[in-house]
Subunit: 369 residues, 2 copies
């Protein structure tokens, strides 16, 4: 424990290895029970060390959100990678380079992209057609047969593309605030996706369905007919997932340790070194607190207690964080102490904190990466 | 121009060098007219190349927001550095190392921090007491003489601290929406700061006043009695500064070029590769648009037109950006094109885009850094 304390001088992202591995094993078992391929999304941690924990339990296929990330994990020996982001045709050189080295899948939705890439590729890549099952970000409407059918036909006409199936990210599960609401999103996308499978399975008997959001992967149990799941955030979870109902507070396995730099008792506020360059400006809104950026927990020698303190990160500027706290909490704190912040969105926080991350073993000692 | 086009494959932060230098010269002249030291804040650009443009016109003193940034610029030969952030006593080793190499100033507001640092320092550091002139982030109330006087006395008692004066960041100028509102913030902090000078100048004849926010530094003309100004954001400006009234749209000198990866005409939306890992989740709110993350402009061969397009970045997730756009704009765009986004907050964007920045000369050619 002393070891860790010596490391902490600045805001530091702390990852509890033991808790994280329990969640990997749980998600792996669920996918095995359902006969699904487990293709975890590595955009959450973006860490070769954390990636190794998945490899140790037998995971072989992964998801990332950019070709840059695909290159990063390919360099660590991952050889089956889906880039779950509408393919950017300007990156064709990277795609060519990657497709020569790994089993690469891309995601697209527009026939013009197939046309742009076709003449430039030299080894085949797998393609998933993205389906919008209600998040309304990218993807085709599952009922847009007039767009989907010609797209599949166009893919089938080329030797450079191997049509693998349909992929969706049901991100609207993030609007859920209970298990019941999560399950409603799940049953809606199941209907959409299974409908597409029924429509195209006779012409494309190998087609698979790929789903991905952490809330439904955490809570739902019936994935009959689906081929693979791609959850990412569950490796850490975060305050948003607690509020959605995907996990308990105790399952969150990463927080940011932040030094206290000023105390304003008269305003009920603590000022921390920990701002938008550490947490992003991701916010969650509750009636009592309005928009806020994280939940504050007590921290001792790297171990954090999940106990509610009533303190929360109410406002962030570039490097400053302003914590609203009850007097009882403020009285326990002095300048120079570290407090823990459960971030609203661990993916964005992990991305910002890459250079300032400590992985803790069961003794709360830092594991050198 | 061809040179630049070859570089663009992914989201890229484009900096117009010529426009940026015009603004540096303008701010330098203003500070010289007023007899102020110009100590620009380098947290905005965090770039040695951009820092060099300030050095070329004679700037010698700079501001940063962390000791890490101070080390970065010290390694580039900057020797007079103020870390304008409540000093974190856990970083005493870095402070000692820096204070041996450069003329270092820190900012604090609490006597307990002086006590914590005093026994550990071995060469003297400059200290500014931070004053809260209405932003209500860090700093002492200017009327809290009962806290300020003993703090100055405590600093004066030690050989390790050289009390330099009072520092404020009037960040509440960011709530202004007109020159008139900016000038009201300016006159209020001038009154607070000059009042403190009057109070303490006889006991501390060398004390100086330091002010910093970009809106008032851009618009106000009377800084009589102030010792130095520390604006940072003005080097790029951004959408927020346009809306505040600190600058015109044409003065913004940095944008993000983002590839279009999908088009949803039926929803009036364009999907770009450009999300929270590029822009942060900083938002601005207007009645017509609600919360949004940037203004979209046309981009050709690296040059952007400031003309209003009616298109804006309405929503960002980790890597995706969703642009709301009028039909006339969508009709001019195809997948694979790059569009420009004026970010809401250029400081956070520049921080995230450090590894993907291009500086453009007057021919819109990329300057290799």
């Amino acid at each position: 424990m002393k070891l860790l304390k010596m490391h902490l001088a600045k805001p530091t992202f702390l990852i509890d290895k033991g808790k994280s591995i329990v969640k990997i094993e749980k998600m792996l078992k669920k996918s095995q029970r359902q006969g699904l391929i487990f293709r975890p999304h590595f955009k959450t941690h973006q860490s070769k060390e954390v990636g190794g924990w998945f490899r140790e339990v037998g995971v072989q296929a992964i998801t990332v959100s950019s070709f840059e990330m695909a290159e990063f994990f390919a360099s660590d020996g991952w050889s089956d990678i889906t880039v779950a982001f509408s393919v950017n045709p300007n990156e064709v050189e990277t795609i060519k380079c990657l497709s020569g080295k790994v089993n690469l899948n891309v995601v697209l939705e527009d026939i013009s992209v197939v046309d742009q890439l076709d003449s430039k590729l030299d080894s085949p890549i797998g393609v998933y057609i993205e389906i919008n099952t209600g998040y309304h970000r990218a993807g085709l409407n599952p009922r847009d047969i007039d767009l989907i059918t010609p797209l599949i036909q166009r893919l089938d006409k080329s030797h450079n593309f191997d049509f693998r199936g349909f992929l969706t990210f049901a991100g609207h599960s993030y609007h859920a605030r209970s298990e019941k609401e999560i399950l409603r999103v799940h049953s809606e996308y199941m209907e959409d996706m299974l409908g597409l499978k029924k429509e195209y399975i006779s012409s494309n008997p190998m087609l698979e369905l790929s789903i991905g959001d952490t809330p439904t992967c955490s809570i739902a149990e019936d994935f009959n007919g689906i081929g693979e799941m791609r959850p990412g955030n569950f490796i850490f979870y975060d305050l948003m997932q607690v509020i959605i109902g995907s996990c308990t507070r105790d399952q969150v396995s990463a927080i940011v340790a932040c030094p206290v730099v000023a105390i304003h008792k008269d305003r009920g506020e603590i000022i921390i070194f920990g701002g938008a360059v550490h947490f992003s400006k991701e916010a969650i809104n509750t009636k009592e607190r309005g928009d806020y950026h994280g939940d504050v927990v007590m921290l001792q020698d790297g171990a954090w207690s999940c106990e509610e303190t009533g303190a929360y990160l109410s406002w962030v500027t570039q490097e400053h964080g302003i914590v609203k706290a009850p007097e009882s909490f403020i009285n326990r704190i002095k300048i120079g102490d570290f407090i823990g912040v459960i971030p609203v969105h661990s993916c964005l926080t992990a991305n910002l904190m890459k250079k300032s991350t400590l992985i803790l073993n069961s003794e709360n000692e830092a594991i050198e990466e």
